[in-house]
Symmetry: C2
Subunit: 339 residues, 2 copies
């Protein structure tokens, strides 16, 4: 029975403050390429692409559902089935869903897992535009914000895995869309490649309220929230009547031991604002509808997706940590193996 | 043509910080008891009861829709029609809606105004349980929070004009309900008279988070927000999955030049919380449905209403200012005239 090397990215200990590469280490173990008997782990998978996602920082803080120090990180990824003990999957299938940061993983049947049916697009897309982040943009924008043609949309972290799609979806819906990002290059990407009507570098704006007033003289109808803190506070001052805020993430707050206070919530009353927090996995029943909507747009080149590809598990910690300083340019993907 | 005294409560100047009685003064003018010709003011009303409402503080701050210094305050009230130039009203009708803090008011037809059809209940009720605050409790609780039997409900400012009704509505809906208030007497009222399952004096709790954990070991499904600031922050830590927050008011923040920061908003994501700000006047189309629901409960004694009655316009400033220190015990009403 084949025993092979299984490199892993392991969390050393719970993290407080900004995560560092040294909070993780790479260990090399071995794995037997065979399903254990009488186990809930019914698939043996070879991991191909792993997804670096902002929420992973939250699981590094000690808490009820956090990562286990000494064990590999878990997260979204794309893999190939090497052995299956489940009727829905067979050897050779490609899948995306929750896996571990290692070369080979045993996956149990109660985890999020989708069989990949369309391989005329890059496989890595199933960590991004066709995976969890894509669904997040779709559900958070279309389902929760019910955009109408002509409405004014603001997206923070707009060049990220989710934000770049929200902006493009907003254009498809006939909205005016502005994004904020953290570098000149990202702003250029938004304006010149991704079709945003306007974009600004939040690091260069001394007054976020003024920046928003400049971009939205008539105010914001829909805010897709990825960052939290000061940005949300400035947005609340600029929302229009009956505005909607989809609360997808608050990456600016995850590394703070004392989060920034949001002081302008009373605007929710006067402006009748609805804020809705969500976790996309609640809406995975919409995945077929989502694919039907998005695949044609991708094939026709009407929706683009920018990926930042890191090579090899040993570069995983740096890729993941880079999310929190905005080092990534587009969706951060980690290649484990190109087979 | 009769010219009579018209006492008024006038705002001296815009207010910052906590309002004081001395921010208003009482002036005595005269008024001719006749409708002006060719005017949009189509009703001459004798004011009977005026409503002291927390939102009025917001209109005292300089801003686009604030009160005009030198002019009488505007607000909700109950009055009798002395002259009508509008087909829907005739002399002698009782009405409730937006009026001015004075003895006699000219009211224009584009203001909120309802004819009072049921006079077997106290007339003052149309400033409270059967007026704007009652509708606020009804819309904010039933329409926005969709309560289900057995759900856990928290109400702040629970003995106030709106809160006392939210608690009683929650019991009618089969919920478990806890209220917070600012004195032992108010807590006793909630527990012993108004049917709340539990109540606490927030001024006596050094740790609001701990107080909520004690009252809601399984967490909060619905929070009816009247106060904002620290209370909201503690509530966010104690919400359950798919919790709903109806944002009706944030009275704790209205007098602060720098509002308290809310730091726990990221819980909205993990817990899929929906927060909805609202202004009840958007939902006045539901008023007939509301009356149909509530009048029988009042007549059968199944819903109570506690009022704090101040007598005479000259006591108006003190009554209004008292709201912000919680001096009122129940709905604060100001009697202008008992006819």
């Amino acid at each position: 029975m084949a025993e092979v090397r299984n490199k892993q990215v392991v969390l050393k200990d719970y993290v407080s403050g900004f995560p560092k590469e040294s909070d993780m280490h790479i260990i090399e173990g071995t794995v037997t390429l065979k399903l254990p008997e009488a186990s809930s782990e019914v698939l043996l998978i070879k991991n191909l692409y792993l997804s670096c996602d902002p929420y992973m920082r939250i699981l590094m803080t000690e808490g009820a559902s956090s990562y286990t120090p000494g064990s590999p990180l878990t997260g979204y990824g794309v893999g190939r089935v090497l052995e299956s003990g489940h009727l829905d999957y067979k050897k050779g299938d490609l899948v995306w869903g929750i896996t571990k940061w290692e070369e080979y993983s045993l996956v149990s049947s109660d985890q999020t897992l989708f069989k990949i049916q369309h391989t005329d697009v890059p496989l890595s897309y199933y960590t991004g535009i066709l995976g969890m982040p894509g669904m997040t943009a779709y559900v958070g924008f279309f389902e929760l914000c019910s955009p109408k043609k002509g409405e004014k949309v603001f997206v923070s972290a707009a060049s990220g895995a989710v934000g770049q799609l929200v902006g493009q979806f907003a254009k498809l819906a006939g909205c005016y869309v502005v994004g904020s990002a953290g570098s000149k290059e990202k702003v250029d990407l938004l304006k010149n490649k991704l079709g945003f009507d306007e974009a600004f570098n939040y690091k260069e704006e001394s007054d976020l309220n003024a920046a928003l007033k400049r971009c939205f003289p008539e105010g914001i109808d829909i805010y897709f929230e990825n960052v939290g803190g000061k940005t949300l506070d400035a947005v609340l001052l600029n929302m229009r009547l009956h505005g909607r805020i989809s609360v997808c993430g608050m990456i600016s707050q995850y590394n703070l031991t004392q989060p920034e206070g949001v002081t302008n919530l009373a605007n929710m009353i006067f402006k009748r604002i609805r804020m809705q927090g969500f976790i996309v996995s609640d809406s995975y029943n919409l995945y077929p509808k989502f694919l039907e909507f998005l695949l044609p747009h991708i094939r026709e080149g009407k929706v683009m997706y920018v990926e930042d590809i890191a090579e090899g598990l040993e570069n995983g910690p740096a890729a993941l940590v880079g999310l929190y300083s905005g080092r990534n340019f587009g969706k951060q993907v980690l290649v484990v193996s190109r087979e």
